[in-house]
Amino acid sequence: MGANNEEYIVEMRHITKRFPGIIANDDVTIQVKKGEIYALLGENGAGKSTLMSMLYGLYEPDHGEIYVRGEKVEFKSPAEAAAKNIGMVHQHFKLVDNYTVGENIVLGIEPMKKALGIFPYVDMKEANEKIRTLSKEYGLEVNPTDLISDINVSIRQRVEIMKMLYREAEILIFDEPTAILTPQEVEYLLKIMLELRKGGKTIILITHKIEEIKKVADRCAILRRGRLIDILDVPTTSTQEMANLMVGRNVELSAVKSEPHFGGVVLSVKDLSVRNEEKVQVVKGISFDVRAGEIFAIAGVSGNGQVELADAITGLEKIESGSVTLLGKEITNESIRTRTESGISYIPEDRQKFGIFMDFSLRDNMAIRRYYKEPFSKKGIFNFAESEAYANNVIDNYDVRSGQGAKTIMRSMSGGNQQKAIVGREIEEHTPLIIFVQPTRGLDMGAIENVHKQILQERDRGAAIVLISLELEEVMNLADTIGVIYNGQLLKIADAGTLTSQDVGRYMMGVTEA
């Protein structure tokens, strides 16, 4: 590579980074022009986040060099990167819950004033003014006096973006920014990105969602298993082409579904109501039946009671009134274990909070549905050979990638692989009822394709499936019956064939008349 090219604002040359048992980046070179939206596309664990963490100063590369504005840099901390006007919006927000939006934004660089010339205090008035100006400039709506705990994820993300703008960041890194957003919120965010580009900012977008790249990005680098596969000009490349390059083989973009064969009613929910911890009624008298061999998809915007509904069926949430009947047996007041034993599998929405033990090995995590039964244990004493063999089985069948096989500690695995492991564990039970909540959240295309196939396989086997998803496309692709949830109520239940995605979208917004 020749002399430093003025054209590029960021250059990362021959970057190599290792973690125990894995090469996260292997000789990766990317060059980002000033004022462009540069996308990093790749599956989970392809090394996108690691690469950007080095640009942001969280890690140091083992090999290779980083240039910012033609000048060689060696960041030892995010503060040094911030000094070069680099900012990053992380997948998991770093905000103080009981501070206001404004306080969070100025945290660390508070504008100080002195009252009576001696008593120092933080001048929030001035800060809030500056935030409001920035807010107008980029169309980024935030109210600086709101408490973080009172605002939703999408606005929290705006606060994170505002934090960077307030610090006068020129190079903005977004790490999977749309993973947690509803379709409308995604649109809004993409609009903001274009707005930022107009304002002269350079944006690096980490994602595995090709549609988003197609909508906003100028160029796109594709990573696969730590290596740079290709750098593409986005407007001239097709979606299918990008998908194939990312996964490394041909991908079916939508699942192929066979004709349904419905059996008897497996799950029957009657007038179910649930109050959450704050005593607010979040599920309000919901009734529906799910038959064997049927995928009952519940569509809805996040936070309309769908998670509480699933928790109530599985027993994690207390039922206020109504009943849940499984295979003709009422389980409304049974314990969680009794319910799962009578035939429920559950892939929860928050996988790290509910689905797995982060500090346990993959082996132990795969066994949590069966550990207390023979042959996994006898008379209360484990037979680890059994659980290890079982874990290896799940690892093979569900393509769970980990550093050290069954011995791997869950925490060291990527989020996508954790999810694959949970999905595998629950499907392997082959229970009469399987509840999926956001089963493909955070998964890449190859893995999504797999999970969809497995859901359909289970349905064809004769399982009743409740699929709760925020992805309208997923609902439309898989569902036999669609229920739309809005504000704790099922506004509409209908055969999937009779509804268009526009219809569903309308019901999701709470509009009932056609």
Binding site: L316, I336, R337, Y346, F357, M358, F360
Partner: protein
């Protein structure tokens, strides 16, 4: 590359990194490394004080019967010192196990001192003061009382947490005070020995330590507690590593939500875990108050109940690790008297040395991380060098 670091895969640094990251042995090598660091740093401290560190460490060993002292009193010798060491180590190990048992389930049992005191007190005033009871009956009875009282107290704390969501740290601290003053009141009003101002001594039959046993010409205090403690360490280890019950306790400790999701009855496991932690603390109590000592100082909680927390953490909160860590901590605590008299330094210096040890052991995870990272860099360096060599060769061929 501008800053090519020289790397040597055979150098001392690489060797040390491999030593610390060895998968099979790192559980042992890291604490050993911590202890070596402690020895180095406390030596520096002693040198600053103008004392010979070798004399100091030797006197720690001699104070515990691991090495001969310069002179002994009549009827005592190395063996007597060693048995005295075991006498203190026994309750220390049991108390550390008590902490571990709750800790693995995500609970912080600060009440070990109180649980020890109450079980020791109840055992003293019942079996301990009973005349004409043969040792064969009295000793098992004392152990049983330790188990029952400690267990009941622990279960109570667990119940408070389960039923009323009262944090165990708060409730145990309060209960510690209540027990301390309540037992103090009863001892002072009913069971006090007017000369020693402590409670009256318990009968020799009920005491878990055989005093003045003649072994090899020396009078030794032989503790039964040490056998009990070591057996319990293996039992606790077995429970956590091999049983479904232990797995569920660890599951609750690791992630309460996921434990609920897996169908584990979280509340019941919390009560069980606290109860069994209390049982171990109760055993520590009876081996302490009816073993190591034979009377109770009113209104005084045993410092051991708190030292046990540090001991447990030094042992990686592993029951078998606790055997070694309680040995080590006891070695320094019990040996401090003799060390200070030999060297002529304050007794507190021994506490400082124990503190240094705990400080370094807290860094154990960091040492492991740093060495793993440096090994990775080494592997990477080798990898690229080979690649460059290949490329150079390829270029020559063309």
């Amino acid at each position: 590359m501008s800053k090519e670091k020289k790397m040597n895969e055979k150098g001392f640094k690489a060797w040390l990194a491999r030593f610390l990251t060895n998968e099979k042995w790192s559980k042992l090598t890291v604490p050993v490394f911590c202890i070596v660091l402690m020895l180095i740093f406390s030596s520096i401290l002693l040198l600053i004080l103008g004392k010979n560190p070798f004399t100091a460490f030797y006197s720690f060993l001699a104070g515990n019967g691991f090495a001969p002292k310069a002179s002994y009193g009549a009827g005592s010798g190395m063996l007597s010192d060693f048995f005295q060491f075991l006498n203190i180590m026994a309750p220390m190990l049991l108390a550390a196990l008590a902490f571990i048992f709750a800790y693995r389930c995500g609970l912080f049992n600060i009440g070990i001192a109180g649980q020890m005191l109450l079980s020791g007190f109840v055992a003293s005033i019942t079996v301990g003061y009973m005349k004409n009871l043969s040792g064969v009956i009295a000793k098992p009875l004392v152990i049983l009382i330790g188990i029952l009282v400690g267990g009941a107290l622990g279960a109570f704390v667990g119940f408070l947490k389960y039923r009323f969501n009262i944090h165990e740290v708060v409730s145990t601290i309060m209960i510690n005070y209540i027990i301390s003053y309540l037992t103090g009141f009863y001892i002072n009003s009913k069971f006090v020995d007017p000369i020693s101002r402590a409670s009256k001594v318990v009968s020799a039959q009920s005491r878990l330590t055989y005093t003045k046993v003649l072994i090899g010409g020396f009078y030794c205090n032989v503790p039964l507690g040490i056998v009990l403690a070591i057996v319990m360490a293996f039992v606790v280890h077995f429970i956590f590593e091999k049983t479904v019950f232990g797995f569920e306790l660890r599951a609750v400790g690791s992630n309460r939500n996921a434990a609920r999701y897996s169908g584990i009855n979280v509340g019941r496991q919390i009560v069980f875990s606290m109860m069994l932690s209390g049982v171990l603390a109760g055993l520590a109590g009876v081996t302490y108050y009816l073993g190591f000592t034979n009377q109770i100082l009113p209104k005084t909680l045993a410092g051991m109940g708190y030292d046990a927390i540090a001991t447990a953490l030094l042992g990686n909160s592993n029951p078998l690790g606790a055997i070694l860590s309680s040995m080590l901590i006891t070695l320094f605590q019990n040996g401090s008297n003799y060390m200070s008299s030999v060297l002529g330094v304050a007794k507190e210096i021994a506490s400082v040395i124990t503190g240094i040890l705990l400080l370094f052991s807290a860094c154990g995870g960091y040492f492991r991380y740093v060495s793993a990272a440096s090994l990775d860099r080494l592997a990477d360096y080798k990898h690229t060098q080979e690649k460059q060599e290949k490329e150079a060769k390829g270029g020559a061929d063309k």
